[in-house]
Symmetry: C2
Subunit: 689 residues, 2 copies
């Protein structure tokens, strides 16, 4: 049951696409009291929580699976230091669930800033504050948390499905400069026997950071290079940034100016921001013609053989607004004349520090959206979404039958139909390995199935053990990419002493691919989650409710990664008896049945813990050096059979759009005596292990 | 066994004061290979660790109890953002223990920067790099980890013991402006029934941030106010900063100039830095006459009734060096003339951001130390130590028989004889609650027994649950202070909804005081640790080796605080059978005997877990509103008696210097039948609970 409550004149976000079953209500919003109309200051709702109510959701945000006890702001922000005190990351995912005294879901459909106080000011009080402007509140009820999520997901439309190679391993670094660098990365992976499907190209591949250009000096024959890489089963994935460099003669700039595609200031001139290319204009992604134009620009790279992209800097990040920077230089001139005291100093420092992503700059430009001129801050959270929508809509025309890889940094609910998200510019911190795990179910709730964090951490310096432990979680996330920033320690796997451990663990991912790909596609097609907090699978188990560091992956599997340095094991809670596969590689494993309850489970640095639920199986392929080598016709089955297990394996060619997914299903049945039978599209040979 | 190896011409740090038993060796350093002499680039030693060797120590530093897997720099630094990637905090505590393949202790006595790579570059390689200059390496061996620590502690001299009121609760905030503010803080604690012994005075009490001044507008009659507070059993604890404001007519400035007490540049003029007061000179704390002069200055406040201080900004923190700032303003002028591109922007931003604590500024001034002129960076890590030594040596003269409260932000080993340390400017992060616990044993190893973190966190915004959980650890730390920064959420306990929980938990601290004070004094007098990692008490238990979130407190008690938001319990490892007291207050408790092994133990938000070892007791007093109300003559005993327990209770008047500590000991014996007998200085009544 999904009820809709409209306040003021909301700006349509196109988040909800399926309105069937949604009831528009004129009644009072259930659960919440409207505390204060606060004309011009936004709208505030409050809910009194029970002492142990749990809150799930908010997609990409900091803190635990249970979001209670902090205040969050949906305000897409380029802030790479994700410490516990931050309120906004790159995304605005305004859907959450309350489970306790009451059980319901809430979606605040509002493109402006929304603040969620989940017991921050007062321990038992939940408030939602929507910044000035109209908005829509949806309240969802259902028989279970999972059912509420499904209903919400149905309303927001089917989640993006990547090409299968997008679930292979990708290597990235802000710093690969040219074809030679990339060739070397590929060669060293192949030599070390570490599987690899893609290499990401960060901003340096472009000509002076200009979108839809390739630097000829660095890539003398780019189409040929793309082909060369394809010949080695490597997909190149270039980055696309939001800002378009201001440069005479640069087609994207010239066309944008000529056709009025860029965001303008109040005086009608184009807004100038500073990002990587220096001075840029921002395409008005909300304006239909501009969006269509920008999307078609991707064709420049697709025509050269590219079949995947990542959209970046689309909060949009703003190192500075040009007018603002000029003001600051003027003020710095004044400071220079003053006596050099402590006020001078802090004034100056704060001024310079506060220059980036300044709210005033976001109030300085405008969009044309659905026939209206709207100031940017009123629709700020849509920008990244609409940039990715630009690409997604264009891909439908350019490659109507093919899945292209696409994920974005900034997002809003609705964008999940066009691409995935990575979890932004994290750090090489053990706490961010745990955060990676904790973000997964919230993102799934909001429609983002294709996701993962920068393995090993983007900022700051990694250690070998952190990278390996992180990989041991990363092998389960659909997007599995090792990415790091210029100036940090190099973190390709082959740079470390124990490359065999990395090879083995990543090999395990490829072996698990039939399971992970099946679970992904089934989740997408049935509006379900791939990563579930334990209470979603065990709603009646009070002990499961407190588990913040384990997840169900699909129907049959539970994971419990180690995320503490120097740990040789960890505590695990089993809501029911399970079979533990303690795996060093796809070949080397110890198997043990554990009773329900709390356990300390050993896991050395090179061991992954996989738990199989009773009467479930998870298929394991032979692995491979890239996704196309993974053969689903010959599978070994991780299994825990008490009576009988049935597994629905999904497979396809990996790149064509999925139309009738049930055609790709093979039903594998394992009887209590160990006999395996299969029926469906592509049966093969199956061995219990 | 403590062996001494001298390299080059070391600068004497006065860290080691008892040389008895130390063998000066001409042989090769055991365990280590000297990898590289690297003339002029420092000296590098390497040790090959076993795969599971554990490293303890380094005092105040980030990461776990086991320091393995990171690289640390001893380089006292004012950096308030203690994320996992930082290498230096405020202190330089160059003592550590290796336990595994070999078992030994290492002390690098060097006042310059020292780098400890504990498996960062290579997983199994430990290296020590000492910056150019002489140094002394000590290698310690002994029959146990604890024995090695005792030997080291004996060599560095007896740890500081605070007055007993310094183990009461202290309330602090950078923001209390005047007598009215402080009166209100005290009144609100008393009204809420929350015990309180001290209020800290941050920089605002001074006249324009000038050391050894009190702002007359804010405190019209300061001695009278001190007396008024004493009448309410409140000790005021003012801050003293390292830098002396440059201001004509200000005595400290005038005297310092006149007598050449300030640090000078190469050209012989005084170095000018910028800190809170604006332009300052730094007293040359290393120069004996200057130190003696600076120490005597504390008398100004002692004469007005003050009996405790905290020394701050003594790394020394440097917001800017004046010459450096002038250069930057000049460069900013140049930037303004350039085109505003992205290089301009980052160049400017990095320049301004890098202004504080810049290595070049630390190379720009000099000390006179033991007859030599030494550039600051060569002795950087001694500055905070010697500032506190200045105070400590002066206190010996001003109040020879009395213990005064003293703790510092920056420190080096040796300073532990003159005062304690707080753990610096932390944040309101759950991860910093755990860090607080993890720092305790390392600090104890290095002699710092009087220590604690800013409860609730100094920077960023606290939540009620974080503050309460943090208090549940804080009640065990000798320094128990709630401190927070201007601009953050107010965090006095009475500002939150559930003040009774705070009152109860802090009441428990006062009830535990007889135990904590006894354990503190015994640890100080016997060169022992008060907080022990589990393997120090259970060296033969391999499972104890991995425990990073529990500590032994003294002989009889183990603590296991909850440090995760929304958690209603936690996992606890018991190396042996123990009795659990789950306490809501000194009166309300549940008692349970748990067998050895792994347990999930429930602990609601307002519950503290205290574990008592077999044949041990821990006395509990009736509590009180301040330390003087705590009555040790009538004690209840937390106990777990299998055969017999003997407890040595220590007590004294709380403020006189301790000469013959054994005179203060009462021996309490509990027989298996529950019979309690006592002998010694002050026997009382004892009840088992």
């Amino acid at each position: 049951m999904m009820k809709k409550f409209v306040f003021g004149n909301p700006i349509e976000t196109d988040a909800i696409v399926c309105r069937e079953g949604i009831v528009e209500s004129q009644e009072k919003v259930p659960y919440f009291s409207r505390v204060d109309d606060r004309q011009g200051e936004g709208c505030l709702f409050a809910y009194e929580m029970g002492g142990h109510d749990i809150i799930y959701g908010l997609g990409e945000s900091i803190r635990g699976i249970n979001k209670r006890g902090w205040i969050y702001e949906s305000n897409c922000t380029d802030d790479p230091i994700h410490t516990e005190n931050k309120r906004s990351l790159y995304a605005a995912h305004n859907f959450f669930l309350v489970d306790g005294k009451g059980r319901f879901g809430v979606f605040v459909d509002a493109p402006q800033k929304v603040t969620f106080d989940f017991g921050y000011y007062e321990r038992d009080r939940l408030t939602i504050t929507v910044d000035p402007g109209g908005f829509i509140l949806y309240i969802l009820e259902g028989e279970s948390l999972r059912q509420i999520v499904r209903e919400f997901r149905h309303a927001i439309g089917r989640s993006y499905i990547p090409p299968k190679w997008g679930m292979g391993y990708g290597q990235s670094r802000w710093g690969y400069q040219n074809a030679q660098d990339i060739r070397q990365v590929v060669r060293q992976h192949r030599e070390a026997g570490v599987p690899l499907d893609s290499v990401y190209m960060d901003i340096d591949y472009m000509e002076r950071y200009k979108d839809f250009t390739v630097d000829k000096g660095k890539f003398p024959d780019f189409p040929e290079f793309v082909k060369e890489m394809k010949g080695q089963n490597i997909h190149l994935v270039p980055i696309i940034d939001a800002g378009v460099k201001i440069e005479e003669g640069y087609p994207a700039y010239e066309e944008g100016i000529e056709n009025g595609y860029f965001c303008k200031k109040e005086d009608g001139t184009e807004f100038v921001g500073g990002v990587w290319p220096g001075r840029v204009h921002f395409p008005d992604m909300l304006k239909e013609e501009a969006r269509s134009w920008f999307g078609q620009k991707y064709k420049f790279l697709i025509d050269q053989g590219i079949d995947g992209f990542w959209n970046d800097m689309n909060e949009p990040a703003l190192f500075y607004g040009e007018d603002h920077l000029k003001d600051i230089f003027r003020e710095l001139g004044e400071y220079q004349k003053k006596e050099l005291d402590i006020e001078t100093f802090f004034g100056m420092k704060d001024m310079v520090l506060g220059l980036s992503n300044h709210p005033k700059d976001y109030q300085a430009f405008y969009h044309e959206y659905k026939g209206e001129v709207i100031r940017h801050d009123k629709v700020h959270n849509l920008y990244g979404y609409y940039m990715t929508r630009a690409a997604g809509e264009a891909f439908e025309k350019i490659e109507p039958d093919k899945r292209l890889l696409m994920f974005s940094r900034a997002s809003y609910i609705g964008m999940h139909r066009y691409g995935g998200v990575w979890m932004g510019d994290n750090c090489s911190w053990w706490s961010h390995l745990l955060l990676n795990l904790q973000m997964l179910p919230g993102l799934n709730m909001c429609g983002f199935l294709y996701t993962g964090a920068d393995l090993g951490g983007f900022g700051s310096d990694v250690t070998e053990d952190l990278l390996l432990r992180w990989l041991e979680l990363g092998i389960f996330t659909p997007l599995m990419r090792n990415h790091s920033a210029q100036g940090t320690r190099l973190q390709e796997f082959y740079r470390f002493g124990h490359v065999e451990s990395f090879r083995n663990i990543i090999g395990l991912r490829y072996a698990l691919l039939p399971y992970l790909y099946s679970e992904y596609v089934k989740a997408a097609m049935t509006d379900d989650m791939m990563f579930l907090p334990l209470p979603f699978a065990y709603p009646d188990d009070p002990a499961a409710a407190g588990v913040e560091d384990q997840l169900m992956v699909g129907e049959g599997m539970m994971i419990a990664p180690v995320y503490r340095q120097n740990a040789r094991g960890r505590y695990v809670y089993l809501p029911e008896e399970m079979k533990l596969y303690r795996m060093r590689s796809e070949e080397s494993m110890e198997v043990q049945v554990l009773p329900a309850g709390h356990h300390y489970v050993e896991a050395e640095l090179d061991q992954v813990l996989i738990f199989i639920r009773p009467d479930h199986v998870a298929p394991l392929a032979k692995g491979g050096c890239h996704v196309e080598e993974v053969d689903v016709s010959c599978l070994r089955l991780l299994h825990f059979i008490k009576t009988e297990a049935v597994y629905e394996l999904y497979d396809d060619d990996g790149y064509r759009k999925i139309t009738d997914w049930e055609q790709g299903v093979t039903k594998i049945t394992v009887a209590v005596n160990g006999e395996v039978t299969a029926s469906g599209s592509k049966t093969g040979t199956y061995v219990l292990i």
